[in-house]
Symmetry: C2
């Protein structure tokens, strides 16, 4: 049962039915009730495609993620949820797995949403620029990109790493290794260069063989751990990892080989994912206000959709000391 059929049954025009459905005050209570009664008994199957077509908008934004693995974005989603509800929008989550067949791709290329928040480095700049060109506003959390319909909210990766190294140095720890993330990722690059600059700040020399590169997963941490264990006589006193997953892989593998943490080696992660609080020893890490980040992302996106003035933003990061570091 659609509006047209409904109108027929009620003996009124489709316009009137539409006004009833949308709670407009253009219709008398008698006709309103008549229509409502028919809806009650016959049911009404709203067709969103028709409305979207007419309105050229659907008040839905999409959060594009690489995958739903890793509880990394859990808190982020909280902020997104709050902001979306408060601002009268709905959000859905789509993943970028599957390339051009992925949901993230479909949502954006087919303009199925009023806007998008991107945290999926695999989506190419070109694709995002194309979406922006088709008038879909985009907030990027994972890179810098310039377009009138795009804004980015980035992490101030430097401050957190600097704090971590300051702390280590204050404990007289200066032999510091680093595990970087996937090299094409913007944040991985930023964090690596933050490591270099913070080490330089303390005039610490960097042992080149102690700068590893990983894939942001536990396996990478494990691999590095095994490689360190191969050279037991020449081990760093601390390892900073570009994310918590790798730090956990590192920590657990070292523990399994009877290395004492933090006594022999301090391990520091990045992101402060939920699990890092629960492992033993709990993981020292670099944190940032994820919920706030989520909130700001939605807030900025909706302002952008509404053609308001929106600036790029930076989110602070800070070192959280737990038990995996001295």
């Amino acid at each position: 049962m659609n509006i047209k059929e409904l109108a027929q049954k009620a003996g009124v025009s489709v316009a009137t039915v539409s006004y009833v459905l949308n709670g407009k005050n253009k219709v008398s209570s008698t006709t309103r009730n008549k229509v409502l009664a028919i809806i009650e008994s016959e049911g009404y199957e709203f067709n969103s495609a028709a409305r979207d077509l007419k309105k050229q908008s659907n008040k839905i934004i999409v959060i594009c993620l690489e995958s739903l693995h890793g509880s990394f974005f859990n808190e982020l989603i909280d902020g997104i949820e709050q902001a979306a509800i408060k601002l009268g929008y709905n959000f859905i989550v789509a993943t970028s797995f599957g390339g051009t067949k992925s949901s993230a791709y479909k949502m954006l290329s087919e303009r199925r949403v009023d806007g998008a928040i991107i945290l999926a480095p695999i989506l190419e700049n070109e694709f995002l620029l194309a979406a922006a060109a088709k008038n879909t506003p985009v907030i990027l959390l994972d890179r810098e990109l310039n377009h009138p319909n795009i804004r980015n909210i980035l992490l101030d990766n430097i401050s957190g790493i600097e704090q971590a190294i300051d702390e280590l140095v204050s404990k007289k720890i200066t032999n510091i290794a680093y595990i970087g993330g996937i090299e094409s990722h913007f944040d991985a690059q930023q964090r690596l260069s933050a490591f270099y600059s913070s080490m330089a700040k303390h005039q610490l020399t960097i042992n080149k063989s102690w700068v590893f590169s990983g894939e942001f997963d536990q396996a990478s941490g494990k691999r590095v751990a095994l490689s360190l264990l191969n050279n037991r006589d020449k081990c760093p006193e601390a390892v900073i990892c570009a994310n918590d997953e790798m730090a956990i892989g590192l920590e657990q593998t070292l523990l399994a080989h009877n290395i004492k943490i933090p006594e022999q080696i301090s391990v520091i992660g990045f992101d402060d994912i939920v699990i890092s609080r629960y492992i033993t020893p709990s993981l020292s890490t670099i944190s940032y206000p994820k919920q706030e980040l989520g909130y700001l992302a939605v807030d900025s996106l909706i302002k952008l959709i509404q053609k308001k003035e929106v600036t790029n933003l930076k989110i602070r990061t800070s070192f959280i000391k737990r038990n995996s570091s001295k």
Copy 2:
């Protein structure tokens, strides 16, 4: 730039442009190239709402979750992802937070998807029946409900709990406590009754004050732990929890009060979430093939969409012994 404008620029009819866009072989390569060239230079902004309206379908299914917290559904999503891609559908995730304003609600009540998979007990039967009545096929993972457009895939909660208790009994552990989940949840009810029946099978008496009820979160586990610690002289030898979160809360709190696990108390969870492998001691739990569950859910849903024969399914559960139980 839309089809109509494109057609004008190219000097052909809109039908021809549509045929080009859809790769139909009704058009000569010269006109095809002419159209393609204009698209190349001017860009084309596909309007999905128009297509959806015409086609009355969009090849999108939605996964409705209570929230994105807890890595509980991570593996499930893997199966969903694989099946969806393989079967030519896309999936999005929507949460049910926010009641009638939630995205899950909007997707279903406004028929914005071709089908839905539900794992969100907060969504009411009545609402789901209404969606089904509007011809949206639904797969339920969290309850039993009967309607031509609805199928359910449920866990065989009994077998896993039975195995766990068998194992405990074989270790001469018979004083067993239980923490139930949110009482309105179907699985919580099933698991509780499985506990009763399995205990009965071994002719074990159930100490009523040892059957707790929780909210499926860590706090509930902690609360129960503290209550047990208050009665140290009369403690159970094992606690089975209706999910891992509560088991973790319980375990960690007991540990913090110097109870030895599993020597003094065995702790057993349910769900086998990722984190349960990483905590110390690793959590014994009741597991089930989540990836398979996800795959089956999508497979069934799409068959249902295609009006094929689909039956309800049951998924096996089984006890996984780790270090938190004897």
